[in-house]
Amino acid sequence: MKQRPFEQRHAADWRAFAATLDRLERRKPDRNAASLPMAEFPAAYRRLCQQLSIARARCYSGPLLDRLNQLALRAHQQLYRAPRQRGRAMLDFLLVDFPRRVRADARLFWLCAALFYLPLLGMGVAVHQSPELIYSLLSPELVTEIEENYAPGQEAVDRAAADDLAMFGYYIHNNIGIGFRTFASGILLGVGAVLMLVLNGVFIGAISGYLTARGYIETFYTFVAGHGAFELTGIVLAGVAGLKLGWAVAAPGRFRRTEALRRAAAEGVRLMIGVAALLVLAAFIEAFWSSNRAIPTATKYAVGGAGWLMMIVYLGWAGRRAP
């Protein structure tokens, strides 16, 4: 069959098919063509695929092939669209899937925890022994500022609600940004993620050691107790997600490097959804609970301890019995 009769025979089908696509893409459809019922769409798509193959095999002209290719591509994008996730799926993910994924990467988790907590403890002890070490990391102005924040005897100066909101915004922007960057920089053979873990450990350890040495124990530890479990675990897990990327690039195993990277990224990004949830929770606690100095010390330590217990139970056991 020559091209023109072929075009004439199928012209009506193609117009109806294009109108159906317009409707699926929520564009204004061509008023002269009726669109197909949805149930007939897949069959119509397969017919179009066949017509495109025939047109190619018969070497019909470029514009016709382009037009059919475009219709097929648009239909392909409608047909193979990922199904929309429902809100319920997110809850299932956090309660079942996320802790399972963390346990599946238990070895990487302990490695990242060591990369974070060992520098933290080491630096904490070192600065506690000789507080002047802090000046090798932070400028004197910054040290003074931190000291003022945690100096006892400021119970009267309670922060206003507006300040809490400002700090909430700051923690969201800063802490979750650090989490995301830790993940992303893992692709550089893991170097970025390791660096982020170690550096964060060093700085947090140094500041804790310094404030402990200065004797600001109550003000400092009642502040960090509440959100510590969620924030520190979040950072470690961002490191896990980042190292997965780096590991896939460095040692792809039986896959091609890009394929290994794609698989690691698909797993890593799911960990990052959980990390983001943990860090939002931490930011919320940090801004609205930790900063509240009216809450008694014992309550704060109790809540902090409960947070760690919850974290351990959640990551260790949640989702074990679910189908």
């Binding site: 018969r58 591509l73 392909h76 609600a161 909430f168 969201i172 920089s185 794609r262």
Partner: protein, 245 residues
Amino acid sequence: MPGNPTRRSILTMSNPALLDTIRYVETPEGITLKLRVAGPMARALAWGMDSLIRYGALWGLSMGLVLLGWAGLGVWLITLFLIEWFYPVVFEIYADGATPGKKALGLQVVLANGAPVDWPAALIRNLLRAVDFLPAFYGFGVAALLISRDFQRLGDLAAGTLVIYRDPPVKTLALPPGPALPPPLPLSAAEQQWLIDFAERGSALNPERQEELAALLADCTSGLRGVAAVERLRAHARWLVGEHS
């Protein structure tokens, strides 16, 4: 010396593997779809436009929020965080794989199999933007873009996504009406296609160029020259597409 007239290519055209940015994707239906992958320049322009929109919106918002004092700063910082990381994600998911900048340049983000991007892929490619941006001004991103076969930055490689051109609707080109004549010698399928393409695209070429091209096909035009040769080729094209009946 007259050669064998029955089977000789009318064009002595070699056809080496074309250096092209078209990527072919095979679908489950057994057909191949053509995707036109977009290069660094178009993507940089789209990114520039998006940056203007993003930071313009943030600036406008700051004008309003400054009235709210510290609370306004908190809201602004949260918005900054959301726009920095999720502006592209949201548009890629809900607006056919294109941020406003990409849309303006006719670009679209799709999965490597041509399907629309899903949540994980959109998140991966936009979280990894943080590394593509290093050490400065998308240094790693551009390097990866130039090394990889399909112009993919690191985020695209990890997410398995492509940035392609969203083709404008094809204009149906009509052959000008006129007589139809069978070609004087048998033509292969590819040769027929060249002839039809030449006739259909005639209106896009100036007359001199058309005559120049027609002169290459002396075997087909039986010695005609100039405008007459072009007309003769059109007549053959009409016969080939089946307009002679």
